[in-house]
Symmetry: C2
Subunit: 113 residues, 2 copies
DNA sequence: ACGTAATATTGTGATATCATAATATTGTGA
DNA sequence: TCACAATATTATGATATCACAATATTACGT
């Protein structure tokens, strides 16, 4: 049921499926930052950064506030960090089980071929 | 720091950024299912389904168990549903605030141009 | 009004992702 | 061993995403 919902939800997760966008969100954990602050911190092309900020804003993850010529971005819903942190937990759990598998394989057949 | 980590983490979220893969995960909430069961339930091309299952498996979201000619898939870490549900919550919250914005706009200027 | 800093937008080519179609593999029963 | 069912893999073309470069916009100080 509700296949359209999956379409929207996929869009939501897709926004998180990019390393630069994740770095931006992480950079905004503590407080808002201007584009140039983010540019210094993340060391990426100005237009690239601006594009990814625009995508995050369009998807509703961040909002901006203009102050003169500066544009400050901040996270709209801080609970997104609960999502990111939970993702990290699951991801690390997966890495660990992969590692255990590799360990098991290498101890059972340490020298094949 | 740890920009490589963001690369991996983005990969993780990217796996969730596809409507069919979300539908597959939702279909596997209660119990394992064979490919043909999923095929009936989701009504997608056989090869498409197989490919997306393979992607989910490669990323560690699901594992499979062969029984004769059937292949049963199940979710590896059920906590992934906590992630999906949290995503839905945040997503709906975003939709609601967008809706409020639209409502506010339409009530303030109901007939411009 | 002019110049400049900060940011956004647009154009473009490379790469990734997707669905479909065609083909290959594997297991089972006759 | 043959045929068939279940699934996987490969090939292909369409579309999406990405980073970079170039250009445009906007606000401020002079």
């Amino acid at each position: 049921m509700h296949d359209d919902l999956h379409e929207f939800k996929a869009d939501f997760f897709k926004a998180l499926g990019n390393p630069l966008r994740l770095r931006i969100l992480d950079a905004l954990r503590d407080h808002e930052k201007s584009v140039s602050m983010l540019q210094d911190e993340l060391a990426v092309e100005q237009s690239t950064l601006s594009q990814q900020l625009s995508i995050l804003a369009k998807k509703g993850f961040i909002v901006s506030r203009k102050e003169g010529t500066l544009n400050f971005y901040r996270v709209k819903d801080p609970d997104v960090y609960r999502l990111l942190d939970l993702g990290r937990t699951l991801f690390e759990r997966h890495l660990q089980s992969s590692q255990r598998l590799l360990d098991a394989l290498s101890s059972v057949e340490p020298r094949n071929k």
